[in-house]
């Protein structure tokens, strides 16, 4: 008797859960459902009163800390429009979802944004594998996505579709780094890259274009926490320079251990992954970076538009913008402008509007005209150098690189 009772109770509990979930779906849907019920193929769906912009970032997981900061960039863009009374009289609503640094979660969250919230334009996802994972789905569903930070070269190959990004391909930055290397006349280099799409993208580029220069290529696991063996290999290889591509956390460990091993005789080059001030919080890391006069590239964040953005960011949140929050801001601005100027809130029309908007939009990270692959057509990298100042350390901009002009160092 009691067994049956228990079974029934369990069954009821499960049904309740399902019902609650279903109710959740239905209730949430109610407001946005109304405009979407009417249209027939010939009829165009009317513009809703509120323009929904999806924001899909990694708010937890490995990249959670960066994602939380990037979200501020999106919020800043929304605030700006709302202070002007929205766009075309319509308020902007950001619908934020967490992809948890997991491509499977990114797909699931994207489906929620599109199917449950009825979003047609999404800022995100953050990583390249997440972007590749959602690409087919958004193309099937005619939903525009603008990634602020997916840099893999492979995304370019996705072609003329619904996938856009405000950030340049890693291949472009690798080309910038390569020019920088050539300007210094290295004959033998070692690559030391993080074992993910970001690091391996750089390694592949150098191996493809200057195979004779790459004497040693090492991929490191960011979770390992000890790189003495690998660094010793670099030391033994007798190279002119080491190209380090990685992130802040593992970068600190690598530089500390390199300092211990006396690897300051050779040149160090790096990319935007470590070009953040948090690197200087650790005195030993900072000293090492200044001692080897580390140089590197990063997506351009200079110019008056960036300064204006940084000022607004400081006013709104009391902090300096962090890595990629400027790209998130631009992606959100473009999304809002495209959705606001499109004749209706509809994927294909937003895509066309986005292309038009991108022709004149000049944002925190410069002009954002998209090429036929949805990549930014104009792109500038800054060349930085770590210097010690009276007050501490900083990344000094010593030059620029753009596909059209090549490397220009400030004399």
């Amino acid at each position: 008797m009691s067994k049956i009772k228990k079974k029934i109770l369990m069954l009821v509990a499960v049904i309740l859960l399902v019902a609650a979930f279903g109710a959740g779906c239905a209730e949430k849907q109610a407001p946005s459902e109304t405009p979407s019920e009417k249209p027939t193929p010939s009829e165009q769906p009317p513009q809703p009163e509120v323009i929904k912009i999806g924001v899909l970032l990694d708010l937890s997981g490995d990249l959670g800390a960066i994602g939380q900061k990037m979200k501020l960039g999106a919020e800043l863009a929304q605030k700006e429009f709302d202070s002007l009374g929205g766009i075309g009289g319509k308020k902007i609503e950001l619908v934020v979802e967490d992809a948890a640094t997991d491509p499977a979660k990114a797909v699931e969250a994207m489906k929620k944004l599109v199917e449950v919230e009825g979003v047609k334009v999404v800022v995100g996802p953050m990583t390249s594998s997440e972007t590749l994972a959602v690409a087919k789905y958004v193309n099937d569903r005619n939903v525009v996505i603008i990634s602020p930070s997916a840099t893999a070269g492979k995304i370019t190959e996705l072609g003329d579709d619904y996938v856009f990004r405000t950030v340049g391909s890693d291949d472009l930055q690798a080309a910038a780094l390569l020019d920088l290397m050539k300007s210094r006349g290295y004959s033998k280099i070692a690559t030391f890259v993080i074992a993910n799409d970001y690091g391996i993208g750089f390694e592949d580029y150098f191996k493809k274009y200057v195979p004779e220069m790459v004497a040693l290529s090492i991929r490191y696991d960011p979770q390992k926490g000890d790189y003495r063996t690998e660094l010793q290999q670099v030391k033994d290889a007798g190279v002119d320079a080491i190209i380090f591509v990685g992130y802040v956390d593992s970068g600190k460990v690598v530089f500390r251990q390199a300092a211990d091993l006396g690897l300051d005789e050779i040149d160090w080059l790096s990319s935007e992954g470590i070009a953040e001030n948090v690197m200087f919080e650790d005195a030993k890391t900072a000293d090492f970076m200044a001692k080897v006069e580390m140089i590197g590239t990063k997506p351009s964040s200079t110019g008056f538009t960036y300064e204006k953005f940084a000022e607004k960011h400081r006013q709104a949140f009391g902090s300096d913008p962090d890595l990629f929050s400027d790209y998130t801001y631009d992606a959100t601005m473009l999304a809002i402008l495209a959705a606001g100027t499109a004749p209706s809130y509809d994927g294909p029309q937003i895509r066309e509007a986005l292309k038009k908007v991108s022709e004149w939009y000049n944002g925190a990270t410069g002009y954002k005209l998209f090429d036929e692959n949805g990549d930014p057509a104009f792109y500038t990298y800054n060349v930085w150098k770590v210097v010690k100042t009276d007050t501490g350390f900083k990344y000094e901009i010593i030059g620029h690189w753009a596909p059209a002009t090549g490397l220009e160092l400030i004399p």
Partner: protein, 297 residues
């Protein structure tokens, strides 16, 4: 247009795919007593095999068959070193196997695209609209779920199933009756892995993209949670477990829009699910649906 039911259908597709994984673990652990902590490895083998086969232009059915065959082969091979030893060794071995395999696929571009994985994997059915594709996926996945469910029920009731349970209960006793238990355990792992491989194949064609980041060890533990909550040893139970897991995962995403909570909803889902796991283990260690008694008459 927004199509909210699609989110629900998508959840059912995932329930089906992971339900198949849970069924296979139930055969291995629930019935034979083999703690396979490398479920994700066979899921991954299935996904990659089927993706490579279908990307080469062969039909889906060949992809799934290949996925099952290759997974079964690895299931049998991997178990060989450890199957004679106590179960703990098998658990550690399979756990390590999953990670090693993932790292190999991540670092060796020539196998299957390295870190960025494979994209543009053909779907099982060619359809014209998103809606019909979704229903198509639902049908395809549930054909597999039902087939495996019937197969495993049949296996459970057969003398072979009883033999597997005998090994679980007392391996020595089974041996004393003249059964080559090592051989049967390897078979159970091979069958289980084949089934897990097919779910990998379904996953690959559903997402149409796979990469090494999709096959983290957490998937193994999710499948274990489904089996434990649903009911170890009961095939119906583990399918319910798979559904509950998906409801929690999606539900946390929906509920966060209504309830303001101070913690990240993704983390909260893990907390609540962990709590559920503990409660189930404390008050109902056999799971929501108990294992059925063997009826001999």
């Amino acid at each position: 247009m927004a199509f909210p039911i699609a989110y629900l259908l998508d959840m059912l597709v995932f329930t089906g795919i992971f339900g198949i994984m849970a069924l296979s673990l139930n055969l291995e652990f629930g019935h034979t007593g083999l703690p396979n902590f490398g479920k994700v490895a066979f899921f991954m083998i299935g996904a990659y095999t089927s993706a490579l086969i279908t990307l080469a232009g062969y039909p889906f059915i060949l992809g799934i068959t290949g996925a099952m065959a290759v997974s079964a082969f690895f299931g049998a091979i991997v178990s060989l070193p450890a199957i004679r030893l106590r179960e703990d060794y098998l658990a550690i071995l399979t756990l390590a196997f999953g990670e090693i395999l993932r790292l190999i696929l991540k670092n060796e571009e020539w196998i299957a695209g390295g870190v960025l994985g494979l994209k543009g994997i053909p779907e099982a059915l060619t359809t014209t609209s998103f809606k019909s594709a979704l229903y198509g996926h639902l049908i395809v996945v549930y054909i597999f779920v039902v087939t495996f469910y019937i197969f495993l029920r049949f296996l459970e009731k057969s003398p072979y199933g009883r033999l597997l349970k005998a090994i679980r209960e007392d391996e020595l006793a089974a041996q004393s009756l003249g059964k080559n238990t090592v051989w049967y355990k390897a078979q159970a792992l091979a069958i289980g892995s084949a089934i897990a491989g097919s779910s990998g194949g379904l996953y690959a064609q559903y997402l149409s993209y796979i990469g090494p980041d999709l096959f983290m060890p957490v998937i193994t533990f999710a499948v274990w949670a489904m089996v434990i909550i649903g009911g170890v040893g009961n095939h119906k139970g583990v399918l319910v477990g798979a559904l509950i897991y998906q409801i929690f995962e999606r539900g946390s995403r929906i509920f966060k829009d209504y309830l303001q909570i101070p913690i990240d909803p993704n983390n909260m889902m893990f907390m609540i699910f962990g709590l559920l796991l503990i409660i189930v283990l404390m008050f109902r260690p056999e799971g929501l649906i108990k294992e059925e008694k063997i009826k001999l008459l």
